[in-house]
């Protein structure tokens, strides 16, 4: 009755193997490394970059333990921090010739020392939260109402010029919060205006306001369009943050959307919060200017003196370009930039949409300068870069501009992104901030580790003394539980925080509950005179229902914490829930396997080693050993 079929043992062995494999990376520790990732949306880290890094290291005479390209970044591992620093300097010199214009982010990082075969199985050490490794955490709230107001403001201008273009007379257009109110002369004009809006601006909805003799209509953004707008604003802000954080040289920044209007930024290892905050809050601007095509300017491109009223900027390929100082348009006039294809040539293009004011200026400028070049410059960190400088082929009206010219699809995507992401789509505010010093992180790891270790050892010791052999089985089951817990956390790459480590300790303390239940039950059966084999069987069987019930109630609490918790509570809840699940497997299924293996085959089992089974009837303790 106490035998497992082979498949059950097979499950246990496989689970143990998986547990060991995925827990292993945690034991190898971390090696100092240099990580190279892209510093700009237009730069890709590829095998060419890898070659450059390898060459740079060879030239500097630094031996790397390994250099590999993994998921868009290059990681070079070293045996000491000295070599790491030397390598960083060498790589930086090779990849970033101009320090004011970094194309790559070269950052110091720690990389798991685990061997390649583990990495190829996607086995990685647990992902430590900021409180364990130090760093900064920000939560930013995106002001969606401001984004919407901004949009409505530009729509107001659009409407004004649209009505003028179509000769619809109006008695005033005004923005009222997030709606635009238009007064019109008569019913016909009203009808015409309505048709115009629905034909030209599909994102808007109109509503008549019957107000005595006046003909008015209220234009507002459709709810679904507003939602899309907000999504885009959030995405754009995230992209912008990415670009900016690259500059900080953080190895593994986390920039995530949280909820509908929040962004979480985590920068492990960063201590300089002031700089980080400065960078997060900065705005980038876009400017459209004319290219100076005079002979002096041509000469200046070759290295001559820049003529008066002009400035030298670099194109993305690094070629200098002389651009007039006079600004035609700024990013404020740009409402959208999307990658697309040209209707006729099927070439990749970027479609820009300008607001009404921008469109009017653009039309005038392009009419006057056909055949000349115009430069679109992105200013970030107070430094400009020419994104593109196309030749004007014809007058461009209507505020829809297409930029084309020898772009690949990827380049079109990147340019559109850069144009859009140059600035924040909506203002943001820091609503939560946490900084944890690196020494505190290390201390927290030690504290969490000590709590788990000592608690675990004392419990196992007690179990062994109190329940003898069964106690030992329980102890082993508890160790296996810990193994599974660590393995699953490593596998899921769930963030481990200090509350998470507390949850781990607590999970072990609660997991032993199941084994105590079983052991007590077996003792009770023995006390009532059952044969050892029957007692084991009944003990496990009866305890199971109770264990299941009690774990479910604990799980309900865990799930609630997971669903409603945030920050530290979430870290706790994840480990808590996983711990409950693993404990059901290890404490019941696995420990039964051990017991079956040990006692199951013995047909004439006289006694089991489960400590003292005390019988009140006999008046004397029977040592069932």
């Amino acid at each position: 009755m106490n035998r497992y079929p082979v498949w059950k043992y097979a499950i246990i062995v496989i689970a143990l193997l998986l547990g060991v494999v995925y827990t292993l990376p945690n034991f190898f520790g971390e090696a100092p490394a240099v990580q190279v990732s892209s510093g700009k949306a237009t730069i890709k880290v590829d095998t060419g970059t890898l070659q450059k890094v390898e060459d740079a290291l060879k030239a500097a005479g630094v031996n790397a333990q390994s250099v590999a390209l993994e998921g868009g970044s290059i990681r070079a591992r070293f045996d000491s921090t000295d070599n790491q620093l030397k390598a960083k300097d060498a790589v930086q010199k090779a990849l970033i010739p101009d320090a004011t214009d970094p194309q790559y982010v070269v950052a110091l990082n720690l990389v798991s020392r685990s061997p390649d075969w583990l990495t190829s199985l996607h086995a990685a050490p647990m992902y430590l939260g900021l409180d364990l490794r130090g760093g900064v955490h920000f939560m930013l709230q995106v002001d969606m109402q401001a984004a919407l107001t901004q949009r409505v403001e530009s729509i107001t201008g659009d409407l004004r010029s649209l009505l003028r273009e179509k000769d619809i007379r109006h008695g005033g257009i005004s923005r009222n919060g997030q709606t635009v109110e238009i007064r019109l002369r008569d019913a016909q004009q009203l009808e015409a205006a309505k048709r115009l809006v629905s034909a030209q601006l599909p994102d808007l909805q109109t509503q008549d306001v019957a107000d005595g003799a006046e003909f008015r209509m209220v234009v507002s953004v459709k709810p679904e369009a507003a939602r899309k707008l907000q999504e885009q604003a959030l995405k754009q802000n995230i992209t912008t943050l990415h670009n900016r954080i690259n500059e900080l040289g953080v190895a593994e920044p986390v920039i995530q959307q949280q909820g509908l209007d929040r962004i979480v930024v985590q920068l492990p290892g960063v201590q300089d919060t002031a700089k980080a905050k400065d960078i997060l809050g900065r705005t980038a601007t876009l400017e459209v200017r004319m290219v100076d095509e005079s002979t002096e300017a041509r000469a200046a491109e070759q290295g001559g003196i820049v003529p008066f009223g002009a400035e030298r900027y670099l194109e993305r390929e690094g070629r200098p370009l002389i651009v007039k100082k006079q600004v035609i348009l700024t990013g404020d006039n740009l409402t959208d930039a999307q990658p697309g294809f040209d209707n006729q040539t099927q070439e990749p293009v970027v479609n820009l949409t300008l607001d009404a004011k921008g469109a009017r200026i653009f039309k005038d400028v392009t009419r006057e300068s056909i055949g000349k070049r115009m430069a679109i410059i992105l200013f970030e960190k107070g430094k400009g870069e020419v994104v593109t400088a196309p030749v004007i082929r014809s007058e461009i009206g209507g505020g829809r501009v297409q930029i084309s010219g020898r772009m690949t699809t990827a380049e079109a995507n990147d340019t559109a992104l850069l144009l859009r992401a140059g600035s924040l789509a909506a203002p943001m505010e820091i609503i939560e901030e946490r900084t944890i010093g690196p020494s505190l992180g290390a201390e927290n790891i030690a504290k969490g580790f000590n709590s788990v270790t000592w608690g675990f050892l004392v419990i196992v010791a007690f179990m062994c003394v109190y329940y003898a052999m069964f106690g030992l089985f329980s102890g082993i089951a508890l160790a296996v539980n810990l193994l599974f817990l660590v393995a699953i956390l490593s596998m899921l790459q769930a963030t481990l925080t200090l509350p998470g480590m507390a949850a781990m300790a607590l999970a072990l303390g609660m997991a032993i509950d199941s084994n105590v239940l079983i052991n007590e039950r077996v003792r009770e059966e023995l006390r009532n005179g059952a044969s050892p084999q029957a007692a084991i069987h009944a003990g496990y069987d009866r305890a199971w229902a109770t264990i299941f019930d009690s774990n479910i109630t604990t799980l309900i609490a865990g799930v609630a914490l997971l669903a409603f918790g945030s920050g530290p509570v979430r870290g706790f809840a994840v480990v808590h829930c996983i711990g409950i699940l693993t404990s059901m497997f290890s404490a019941v299924f696995f420990s039964r396997g051990l017991v079956n293996l040990w006692y199951g085959s013995k047909k004439k089992l006289k006694s089991v080693s489960i400590g003292t089974v005390w019988r009140p009837e006999g008046g004397s303790a029977v040592k069932a050993d």
């Binding site: 919060t273 007590e520 009866r542």
Partner: protein, 316 residues
């Protein structure tokens, strides 16, 4: 080894009234302190800035207080954190002042005073987040309570569900009462501990109820009081040992976990101690007052019973 050599069933239910009275008094006291003193909520809930700085020498709190005071913050709290060299500074949320500048300003001022000071940790929480966290906490509590009641009502019977949840909510209130009385800091981690304890000590009631149900099937001649007494007596050794084991872990956290885990472990300790008490003395007693009977439990789970009877035939 055996700690519990109990010859006869202990007549717990005979004293049920006394236990319930004790419970009620503790409960009333806890509620009283909750209202009169209130919880000392952490910055996570109230919003504001928390800074932990470390000096190389034991810090002079008065000096720190004076330095921070000159910056014009109202209601600044300065206290030691763990050791004499670590200082925790709590600044209230200020309207209009962005998070960041606050901690920068304080650190600059402290650095000017004593260059050896280092920043170990800062935490800023905006007021809107604080409100949300408080709401989410309450939602989580409601979710746990409703979830457990539904589960127990389905698995056992509504009288058990109600008594278990009353018993364990009484634990929660008592934990909160302790935090109010001693003015310990109530943080998110403590909230997590409270909810975890709620789930955990319901376990305890479940174990006893399980045994009561089983006893109703096995001992047909016993009356309800005897059955409850027997159920508690036969599970008491397990109760003490499992709670003891969990407490070992919590104690280890209390000893090695440092300041950050201190109140978390504290909440668990109180929760575990009162968890035993309420499951043993309160939950079953309430179930008894609510009038559980054999019929409540035996009928709906006929199939279950047949199975267990088959297995237990040799044993009884």
């Amino acid at each position: 080894m055996e700690f519990f050599k109990i010859k006869k069933d202990i007549p717990f239910m005979k004293h049920a009234l006394v236990f319930n009275a004790i419970s009620f008094v503790t409960f009333a006291l806890a509620v009283f302190f909750l209202f009169s003193r209130g919880l000392h909520l952490s910055v996570e809930f109230t919003g504001g800035t928390l800074m932990e700085v470390s000096y190389s020498q034991p810090a002079d709190l008065n000096k720190v207080r004076a330095t921070v005071g000159t910056l014009g913050f109202s209601e600044v709290q300065v206290q030691n954190f763990g050791t004499a060299r670590d200082v925790m500074i709590r600044l209230p949320a200020q309207k209009g002042v962005s998070s960041a500048q606050q901690s920068e300003k304080v650190l600059t001022a402290l650095k000017a005073d004593n260059a050896e000071v280092t920043l170990r940790r800062t935490e800023f929480v905006g007021p809107q987040v604080g409100d949300e966290l408080a709401h989410d906490g309450l939602k989580a509590l409601a979710f746990v309570v409703i979830g457990i009641v539904i589960y127990l009502a389905v698995r056992f019977e509504w009288k058990f569900a109600v008594s278990a949840i009353i018993a364990n909510l009484h634990d929660v209130i008592i934990i909160l009462g302790f935090f109010a009385f001693f003015q310990w800091e109530f943080s998110l981690a403590v909230l997590a501990a409270v909810l975890a304890v709620l789930g955990y000590s319901v376990n305890e009631s479940v174990v006893i109820f399980d045994r009561i149900r089983e006893n109703f099937r096995r001992y047909r001649k016993m009356n309800t009081v005897e059955i409850i007494d027997n159920a508690i007596t036969s599970t008491i050794s397990r109760t003490i040992i499992t709670h003891g084991s969990t407490q070992i872990m919590v104690l280890s956290m209390l000893l090695f976990g440092g300041e950050t885990l201190h109140y978390f472990a504290m909440a668990l300790t109180i929760g575990i101690c009162f968890g035993i008490y309420s499951s043993v003395f309160v939950a079953a007693a309430i179930a008894m007052w609510l009038g559980i009977e054999r019929e409540d439990l035996i009928k709906p789970i006929k199939k279950d019973r047949d199975n267990s009877d088959e297995n237990s035939g040799a044993v009884v």
